[in-house]
């Protein structure tokens, strides 16, 4: 089971090796997609992969450290009214989450592949790509 979470760190949790504990104690495969944490705390977008029971335990552990955990259904949104299907975002996306459908010539956004890196946001000339975090 693979899910993306937005973690909000309070200042007291900022200096602990929390992702290390998730890997070591709960055998969760962690993939840090975005992180901005300093001594005052901060935010991290983390993809966690593992059996459902271990993920549950891992989340309980995070909560015990006062880390706020929110699962992310969507981190980036593509506004179909604003999009002109130009495709400038396609070559910017590092994981192939934005692709040109060669039959319809529309730009298809695959949210599951998106790692919320945000590279497409300022590349879009019609501000159709929105970062929701």
């Amino acid at each position: 089971m693979k899910t993306k979470y937005l973690l909000t760190f309070p200042n007291e949790a900022a200096e602990e090796p929390i992702t290390y504990r998730l890997v070591k104690d709960f055998d969760i495969r962690c993939n840090i997609l975005r992180a901005h944490i300093d001594e005052k705390g901060g935010k991290m977008v983390l993809e966690m992969d593992g059996p459902a029971d271990m993920l549950k335990k891992g989340i309980q552990f995070l909560k015990s450290k006062k880390v706020e955990v929110r699962s992310i259904e969507e981190g980036v949104r593509k506004d179909e009214d604003k999009c002109t299907q130009c495709g400038v975002c396609v070559s910017i996306c590092p994981v192939g989450a934005l692709i040109l459908d060669k039959k319809t010539w529309k730009i298809v956004f695959n949210e599951e592949k998106c790692v919320v890196c945000g590279l497409c946001i300022d590349a879009c000339p019609t501000t159709a790509m929105e970062l929701l975090l």
């Binding site: 002109t84 130009c86 070559s91 910017i92 692709i99 040109l100 730009i107 300022d122 019609t126 501000t127």
Partner: protein
Amino acid sequence: MVEEKQLRTYAEINRKIESKTVSVMTAEEFKAKVAGEGLAKAAKDVDVVTTGTFGAMCSSGVMLNFGHSDPPIKMQKVWLDDIPSYTGLAAVDAYLGATELDETLNMFHGGAHVIEDLVRGKAVKLRAIAYGTDCYPKREIESWVSIKTLNQAVLFNPRNCYQNYAVATNGCSRVIYTYMGKLLPDYGNATYCSAGEISPLLNDPLFRTVGIGTRIFLGGAQGYVAWEGTQFNAKVPRSPNGTPRRSAGTLAVIGDLKKMSADYLRALTMYKYGTSLSVGIGIPIPLLDLEMAKYCSVRDADIYTAVFDYSEQKRARTPLREVNYSELKSGEIAIKGKKVPTSSLSSMYKARQISNELKKWISKGQFLLQEPIEKFDLEREFKPLDVRTKEGCK
């Protein structure tokens, strides 16, 4: 060279359009027909081929007339939703350019955005100042205008519809922001800006049917080719099929903004570069003879352009390689041994929509073909701006 036997005239085509018996195909459909049935049969069966493009065209803007206030004002400076407009014309005429930014240089709001708002029927704030004269005593005004209140709102774009364009990439070690979009370091991506085989001027590479007066699809309404576009340059290397291998011809186009639609005119912000306007243009190509049919049968694999490193900050960049549109549209090209993802700045989806829409207009008898009143001068030289002396101008 293909034998130049006339197949049909403009008058014959227009009679068929009026009687709704014209045979019209989009460029895509025509190319597929040629591939399946051969050129001679396709040329015999089809009267008109419709093309389309929808891309960033910076050299765009609208001529506006506001009407006179009471007492009247001779506007000296004008702002529309805080975007300065040029008013060095008669009292209440102004030209709003797509790339003009507000005075805080906020790139997310420029002339193009005001043009899109006007097309969408939104009210726009007008502010003007003046020095006041005996005949135009008023010295300032604030009011609201919309597409309905304006006397004229004429889209007049001095350079649109580039016949082919460069491919941009970035060989330096930092991200660069250009009018060709965001370019990732170390040849991280490459962007191009032409619809390729369905783009209007690549289907009439030597301007046999597109010239001054040609009636076109412009921003969702009927418009016209007003003149050659600025920087028009026909003297570039060409492939045996006649298509230019570099940026070449351009068009100045004109049409009534009041009849246009935001589906085909869209404001753009190229981050850290500025604003621009995406303009939808469609041109019908009459298959007057076998040569025109041959031109319209050109495929992406036979249309070439060159890749340039946009981190090279000079006028004449060195081409890294030549590439065809079939390769570009595949999503990946090789640059210096590296596989580089490509993507388009111009919308193929919209280009296809435009060629279909124009086909519909022609089939329904709503759009007649106009033979060019005058053809373009293909021998004109494209000159650079050098720092020169007064005498150097002779």
